[in-house]
Symmetry: C2
Subunit: 370 residues, 2 copies
């Protein structure tokens, strides 16, 4: 012990833990036998194994993960590195997501080690540190990009991981994802069914894989229903209210304005609300909006936002389970799951009150008047 350091708080008051030695003594077995019995080695008789398991339960024995780790190299901990910039730290689903992750992890008596990094580069460094220090047996990678350096790193280091989302090159990747492309497609079909013939699109964050998928879902659904894909009413990327509003203004100002907009994110949709209001129009009647995410603000907005809701808690739970199976050695190809977003029908979409031409007419009158 250090000479003049204060005495560390120890917490000795808690009852002494049952170790594998106590268990072995109580059973009259060697600790090696007990260990093998508990770990399913084939050279233990079923009778003995049964005795050991029962006694372990009775005495409340559970091995210390970090003591096991010294030999096995695995600490029974999942890792996640959140990239949190200066002020983009708005994450409506973070709590739900973490709840799912930790619930599923602790059900298997694993834990979650959480770290953060301000930039992508620092995230890589942080991951390396966690790996080197064996703090984590594998990673959950949120916000996957089409070309994601984190994946490259983990592949190179042969560290297990699972994606929240998909990615450009799926080799060696396990994942859970919501089929955003299907959602966007469904939105288009629904709007077309209701009579819309000019349906615009506001895309997601640049570089993220989900953006590519949703955009493609939009495009191919247009094709399926026989509508033209027109870059004039498509905004590549809009992920904040401001960007959504700007994009909304721009698309509405075009020569053939959209009577409906499909948005890859709710935030963008809320921006569209602003642009529509500014133009003296009404969302849900004059311009329909269907978005994606399910943020709480959408339910409070006027009109309430029709959107595809993602169950973040479920996603977290699935990801934790997948990662644990991956760490245990299952092949990544067998660990790819997807689910559908749930359409929350609310009030921001409806049959068009006018055609694109009428809308343009109306808009030009409004602007000249102002």
């Amino acid at each position: 012990m250090l000479a003049d350091a204060p005495e560390p708080v120890r917490g000795d008051a808690r009852t002494v833990r049952v170790t594998i030695n106590h268990l072995a003594d109580a059973l009259g077995l060697s600790k090696g036998t007990v260990s093998r019995a508990l770990n399913g080695y084939p050279d233990i008789s079923e009778i003995t194994r049964h005795r050991v398991v029962r006694m372990a339960e009775r005495m409340g024995y559970a091995p210390l993960a970090h003591a096991q780790a010294i030999r096995t190299g695995r600490v029974r901990a999942l890792g996640i590195v959140l990239q949190i910039g200066e002020h983009d730290a708005q994450r409506p689903f973070l709590a739900e997501f973490l709840a799912g992750l930790t619930a599923a992890a602790s059900a298997e008596s694993w834990t979650l080690t959480l770290a953060t990094a301000p930039t992508e580069a620092e995230a890589l460094v942080t991951m390396r540190r966690l790996i080197d220090e064996r703090k984590t047996d594998g990673f959950i990678l949120p916000r996957t990009k089409v070309d994601d350096p984190r994946i490259a790193l983990l592949r190179a280091l042969d560290v297990p991981f699972v994606l929240w989302g998909r990615t450009g090159d799926p080799t060696g990747c396990a994942w859970f994802d919501i089929l955003g492309e299907d959602a966007m497609g469904e939105a288009v079909m629904r709007l077309q069914d209701m009579g819309h013939r000019r349906i615009g699109y506001l895309g997601g964050g640049r570089g993220f894989n989900y953006s590519v998928l949703r955009h493609e879902g939009y495009r191919s659904a247009l094709e399926a229903v026989g509508l033209e894909y027109d870059p004039e009413i498509v905004c590549e990327s809009a992920v904040t209210v401001e960007e959504g509003a700007a994009a909304g203004r721009r698309l509405l100002a075009g020569p053939r304005p959209p009577t409906a907009l499909v948005c890859a994110t709710d935030m963008a949709a809320l921006g569209v609300y602003r642009a529509v209001a500014e133009a003296g129009l009404e969302v849900g009647r004059d311009v329909s909006v269907i978005a994606y995410d399910g943020i709480p603000e959408g339910a409070y907005a006027t009109p309430q936002l029709t959107t595809f809701e993602v169950d973040s808690r479920e996603a977290g739970a699935r990801l934790a389970q997948l990662l644990i199976r991956r760490i245990r050695g299952e092949a990544p190809e067998d660990l790819r799951e997807t689910a559908h977003a749930r359409l929350r029908l609310r009030a921001s979409d409806g049959p068009p009150s006018m055609t694109s031409e009428e809308l343009r007419e109306r808009l030009s009158r409004a602007t000249t008047r102002v």
Copy 2:
């Protein structure tokens, strides 16, 4: 190895780690000596210690926390258990807070173990599990209550902890807190200065310690400026937009309505916005509002919300540092820090446009008209 289990993913590709044995060999010392040198034992000559430290740096040696833990019982991990209910999972500051925690922790090469629980009772169970399994050396306790069972548990088990907030019985507690009472007081003074004579209050969550403090800050400031404390214009608890709106309506409907409202939470303030608008009044002119928290929605609301902003990232960082010092043995009494919230002057407060009487008159006309 289990007979028919798949081969666990090992990550052997990563370069072999430098262990204390490698270091000892390279130095021609015994590993015990190396260990003592690195841990500041007094029976190592300065020359040797220096050699060891330099070589450790050169070879990139860092001890494995879990290997140390087997002997020391400490894993260099901070713990936090977030209570996340079914759908109250709206936590605007969670990401920032976690960023602060993990940044400060990793600066000392500690990590964060995160868990969640749906209820308080389950949180206690989860904490016990983390303690029993030695996953954590101490806890950060968010959302402290006046009488907090988590504190009782950790006190009984003699496990180090630090509060984010204060509590009823401070015995043995270390904490970091923002002086919410000062903020509420300042709000009252400011409003009084501007000419308000009827200043109402919307309190925070029931049972939480911050609610008591902020309420008391409001009350004593009223006294200090010579205004009456009137339960008629005080709502004990309002923490959602809905509750805030309901409280706003109730207070405004009274015989002597407030011309200004101090809110313990921004959410309540946004509810007040709604109530004021419904009454045909304007926030910032007819009714002033000053709140507390600094949620992003406040800056986007109309009018922009004047509020006391809390730096969650800073709080996380301070808490991590305090907890580490606590675990290292410093006395809790020496680990109590506070800071002030930062007043963001925006547009929701101003001189009263009318007196309480005039306001009542105006309101009664409005309601009869409707």
